[in-house]
């Protein structure tokens, strides 16, 4: 964590989210909002006393200004400028919403500048952590085999919500046993094919069953993992058996 200090003029457009970003990324430890520096730039004093100024492009939002200066994938993903593979994307609503807060964000933003900077910094810290997790999940799922039934199993280190990376690679159905929950989930494509988890045989009856998922345990309803009734390997075998039974007729139905 840097001990650097940043100074920003309060007349600089986006000074609040800019200050929050510098704090959230650990680029600086302290931000001073001061008229002692001219608008449109950020002065950073490093631990060793070196000073430098970032000149901002006034035509760009503050966070885009700062995001364009970093090669850190996590930061670019957090700002919605890159996807998890590092490809540049049309920046999403992240930067725009922080520039013009509305709705719940506007409601929850504190009134004073300092408190507002700290609140936005906390949101951005959460966003950076989320980006780290997504990038790790993307990498961890990129080599997971998808079987002949278009089923894939998430490794235990990856939270089940990251199954979308498997679906993006063509999986139809995902199973998971991430230490918090165990179960099967159907992609939207699988549901459109007519698959319904409630038609699956062999899964323990005390699991929660919906059309799109059968699941044991969750963050909202934690359960003892050793009472799931089956192992992760057995879960995969059961799901494959069910897909062998259910998929052909569903695929035929889709072709018809």
């Amino acid at each position: 964590m840097s001990e650097a200090i940043a100074s920003i003029n309060p007349e600089t457009d986006g000074h609040i989210e800019g200050a929050a970003w510098l704090l959230a990324t650990g680029r600086v430890k302290t931000v001073v909002i001061t008229h002692g520096i001219r608008p449109g730039c950020i002065r950073i004093v490093e631990e060793n006393g070196e000073q430098h100024e970032l000149r901002l492009n006034s035509k760009l939002p503050m966070l885009l200004n700062l995001g364009l200066r970093t090669d850190c994938l996590t930061e670019r993903v957090a700002l919605g400028m890159s996807n998890e593979a590092g490809e540049r994307i049309n920046w999403d609503t992240t930067i725009r919403e922080l520039r013009n807060p509305a709705g719940t964000l506007a409601l929850l933003l504190p009134a004073t500048t300092d408190a507002r900077i700290n609140y936005v910094a906390d949101l951005l810290r959460g966003r950076i952590q989320d980006a780290e997790e997504r990038i790790a999940a993307y990498r961890a799922t990129s080599n997971i085999p998808i079987d002949e039934f278009q089923h894939a199993h998430l490794p235990p280190s990856i939270r089940r919500h990251q199954r979308r990376f498997l679906y993006a690679r063509g999986a139809l159905v995902a199973t998971f046993a991430d230490g918090e929950a165990m179960g099967v989930h159907l992609s939207k494509r699988a549901q459109k094919l007519g698959l319904d988890c409630r038609d699956f045989n062999g899964l323990p009856e005390h699991w929660w069953a919906e059309k799109w998922t059968v699941i044991y345990g969750s963050s909202k309803a934690p359960r003892p993992y050793d009472e799931a009734g089956i192992t992760a390997d057995e879960l995969q075998a059961i799901v494959r058996d069910n897909l062998a039974r259910l998929l052909p007729q569903n695929q035929e139905a889709e072709e018809e």
Binding site: T93, L105, R127, A221
Partner: protein
Amino acid sequence: MALAKLEANEVGRAVSLLIDLRRQKADGIEVEVATHVAPDADAILATALSAIALGGARIVWQSSDEDVGPRHPNRMGVDVRAGPRSIKGRASSAAEVVACAMQRLGWQFDATAMEVVEEVTAIDSAKGGRRAAFNLGQQVLHLRAAGWNDRETVGYVAGKLRSHLTSPRMVVE
């Protein structure tokens, strides 16, 4: 809020629970609002609204699989399994059920408060369409990742929301 689409019995139960707990609170009994662990936007908002309606309450965390029953006569549950003293809001959201109950009790919600309830209902019922990057659900997750505890988040949301609600006795005809 579209009352018609809500399960009327859940709104009715929420009204009864709020009246019951307000009465107990007036008698000096500590009242509690229970919601599920790892609360999402609905749990946070429903708990915050209930706490506002009760003029303050102790927050209790439990599994969303459990209801609240007669064993806890000083407690109401929100966004947990529906039961004698708990509401789930499965057809909409627990927050919308509590908000409708509060409106029946004379509370007024301004446009901002209504917008938050609608946003959470849209998230909870997966009918949100394009979601804001910083909707309440995302903010709750980000704040938790940044070290906020969930009790702190409920208190913060309640504090921010309070000025957008007018309590029954404050309504000027």
